[in-house]
Subunit: 509 residues, 2 copies
């Protein structure tokens, strides 16, 4: 990121007490002498016993607030000799002057930033005005972060109209023969492979569809995980805000995650009135719950890999244990998808095998390439799918709030795998299904989580998410509900699924 | 449950309008005539133009409020002839008179019930007084549920001092040789088998411990799931309140579950100020989150089996598909355990294989017995553990708020499997670990979820939860950290785990 240019202006005052009898020429000279020794641009004036001080700083100067406090110390020493005291050291406001250049006033008017009470446009500068400043805020130099936030919001306004980045990079030779053109969810519901659950975007998978998921899982185990020596770990599914802060999800997708809140205390009596209402009226007074719950202690797993980066946080990895290749399939992910009906290809609760790896730059790229070969082999030769690949906005940008692809150097970024779903219409015009992806994050997470190597090796990470529901939807969409009609190379994995699908589990009306 | 005896008293009034000129003997006679035809006990009196009416009903009589409304209709018709109108039909209060018998006043004073404004003790009756009654409450006869809630609270007060029910029913012949007496969590942490995660009671399991979990899982697959033909299904982990209402968890363990709340809208701008604060100050203003979140839409999986009963809700199961034997291992369970430090034998996020079955009474018992044989074979002959079994309060009572075992007929109830953990001290005095359980619920869930059979077969259900972490803690506690020292019959399952444990994953300081 290029360094932002801006000027910080601190406006404050001290009150003069004791032997003070107005701004005598002698006093003014004393103050001028003190300010002369300060490198920053300063101003002062009197209003009765109030001495107003203005200090400016640029990026490469001492921070204006520190200077304001230095002036106070020096003045105090100097004025002590005249028996004048300084009281009520107060910062009244701060201004951040940012060169306007290509910023249009129109856009800037729409911007709101916490702590910023007003935004003005003056002499080709945008001026952000901050009132109500406390010591904690000033001392920690949080003012310095405001221009960044301002520019981020400008960027977002610019991006608002744009389409998401999408660039086709590969299309399979296989073309689906469209022998089956029905909606897999509708057909699978009829056959009792799954059942709609009374939560938005959630299904109960009976042994029939579960057996198909396990067949897919076994294929992935043989053809990817064991071949490339990925080892299974169990990543926690409770995600503390601190981890999401570092991955960017906390500020990137706060409206799409599920928050986890326990009760305020483990003493059940705080629910006594609620429980009485439920038992007496058989209705659930949902509106009474929030007041009994804690602030959320975190969220439920949305992207699966963040705990992996946490695991290695601040570790010095010995070069000889590299590469680290782990996968997790220990539980579902949750996303609060927008409403409306859809099938089991787009769920609020879904199941994914997540592969994550950590290695040198070359290592990370080489693992990614090997993985892509495995995927290609599976899709072309085993599952014989019609599929394609596209470069898209890296998910680690998209999920931290960016729409456009700002990082498309050859080896970094996200590739989406998409499959053609005949039931959605012609392959040229219908929406294909993103059924998995693969990403190289470069040093993004390695930096944020301060992961280092004991040798002079630059570390990168990569990840790839395999959606079981989406693989299943893809295969069913292209081959239909009769497993005998599925590709012959996949048949060895389907033995148990075929048996279970033949079994009468339960008859639906 | 025995039917409760109590009397409902409805006190209300009507205002007489029109041709009303006081309670003339003629008017009083008319009213008496109307009330004579009512079977319930009634009273009336006048206060100026207000006609006060009191109606009582016992369990086997027409509900007092209905009678109160019948009187209104009949009076209206009768008085119309005298050009007197009835207005402001109002119920002022209700009283529930419950024979006191063994209820001591001391206990009753402590009881609070929603809707009940006062509790009095009069002529050997407890009187619950309910004011502020609305039509919805009266029409739905919710008054009838209050005595139940009252007795439940009396029961709870009685139980408060009691110990949980626990009855030893079996002890293994195997005695642990105590060659290892260390705390498995401490040792496993040292060896990088797991890492404490920044959430209370949550660990990250590295491939080392994960491989041990999978070895246990494979053993269970061979010796139980495949032998007894249990089929895997995927139970959702989001639990709507309606399901927990039916299983009893909603009112039984509301202070121990995690609630799930999404954002109020999917428009990220409701988080703009929070995000600014995070980006500007690098601190997370947790206190600002609750106001952006919806009321909880449900909770996260606590007991694993409730979605199973939901799946069959209101279904007529064809006899020829019985027994239904499913298991789920698709994700973790969460419990908000009380604070304090403990190892990975007691977690807020843990992994369990949950077996659930539905069949005729004999079928359910027979499956339970076969399962118990499998468990015994595994613990005695393969894992060679020191273990025991105890009858305990059925979990489906405990988790709906009851402490004592009220249902210990021979075949119903919960059996806990406990293992001896040498690191906790002598086998006679230390606390053993409940590492799994098995239950028959009788018709509890079948009734609540209205599950029926197409033939004249009474259905029951059973379930058994296998805690992977707790099995691992048991084995490590009794045999130590060196897998070569683990029982020989378990060795075939440990090949991969032993390889992974030898691998240097990462060096900890």
């Amino acid at each position: 990121m290029t360094k932002l240019k801006y000027t910080t202006v601190i406006k404050g005052h001290y009150i003069l007490k004791g032997n003070f009898s107005g701004p005598t020429p002698e006093l003014v000279e004393l103050i001028e002498d003190v300010l002369k020794k300060i490198k920053n641009k300063t101003e002062f004036n009197f209003n009765k016993e109030v001495l107003n001080i203005v200090v400016e700083s640029n990026e490469d100067e001492t921070f204006a607030y520190e200077v304001f406090m230095q002036i106070k110390n020096k003045l105090r020493d100097t004025l002590k000799t005249k028996k004048i005291g300084l009281k009520n050291i107060t910062v009244d406001s701060a201004e951040l002057k940012i060169p306007a250049e290509d910023l249009s006033l129109e856009r800037i008017k729409d911007i709101k930033i916490e702590y910023v009470s007003d935004i003005k446009f003056e002499n080709n500068n945008v001026i952000l005005i901050i009132n109500n400043l406390d010591e904690w805020f000033l001392k920690n130099q949080f003012l310095r972060n405001i221009p960044n936030v301002f520019f981020e919001k400008i960027e977002k306004l610019k991006e608002a109209g744009k389409k998401e980045f999408w660039e086709l990079i590969w299309t399979s030779k296989n073309k689906c023969d469209c022998r089956f053109t029905l909606d897999p969810t509708v057909e699978a519901l009829k056959k009792g492979w799954l059942k709609k659950y009374p939560m938005q975007g959630v299904y109960f998978f009976t042994p029939k569809l579960t057996a198909i998921f396990r067949a897919i899982e076994n294929l992935i185990l043989d053809e990817i995980l064991n071949k490339l020596e990925f080892k299974e770990a169990i990543f926690p599914k409770q995600i503390p805000f601190e981890i999401w802060k570092k991955t960017g999800h906390l500020t990137g997708v706060p409206a799409e995650v599920f928050y986890l809140s326990p009760a305020k205390t483990r003493d059940i009596s705080i629910f006594d009135d609620i429980n009485d209402i439920i038992k007496i009226t058989n209705t659930i007074p949902i509106e009474k719950y929030p007041s009994r719950l804690r602030e959320p202690i975190g969220g439920y797993c949305y992207a699966q890999c963040p705990p992996f980066y946490w695991f290695f946080e601040k570790e010095i990895i010995p070069e000889n244990v590299l590469p680290i290749k782990w996968y997790d399939k220990s539980g579902p992910s949750f996303r609060w998808e927008s409403g409306g009906l859809h099938g089991f290809e787009r769920l609020n609760e879904f199941h994914r095998i997540e592969l994550v790896w950590l290695d040198s730059i070359e290592g990370v790229i080489s693992i990614r390439n090997k993985l892509m070969e495995c995927y290609k082999h599976i899709f072309d030769n085993i599952l014989k799918l019609e599929w394609r690949m596209a470069r898209v906005t890296p998910w680690y940008y998209a999920q931290s709030g960016k729409i456009t692809a700002t990082e498309l150097i050859k080896e970094k970024g996200t590739i989406d795998y998409e499959s053609y779903l005949p039931y959605r219409g012609p392959r040229e015009s219908s929406e294909w299904l993103e059924f998995q992806n693969i990403s190289i994050h470069g040093d993004k997470f390695v930096k944020t989580f301060k992961i280092k190597c004991n040798k002079d090796v630059e570390l990168w990470t990569g990840c790839s998410g395999i959606g079981l529901e989406r693989w299943a939807v893809t295969i069913i969409s292209q081959y239909g509900m009769d497993l005998e009609q599925w590709p012959s190379n996949f048949q060895p994995y389907l033995k148990e699924a075929k048996q279970i699908i033949e079994t009468k589990l339960i008859t639906w009306p």
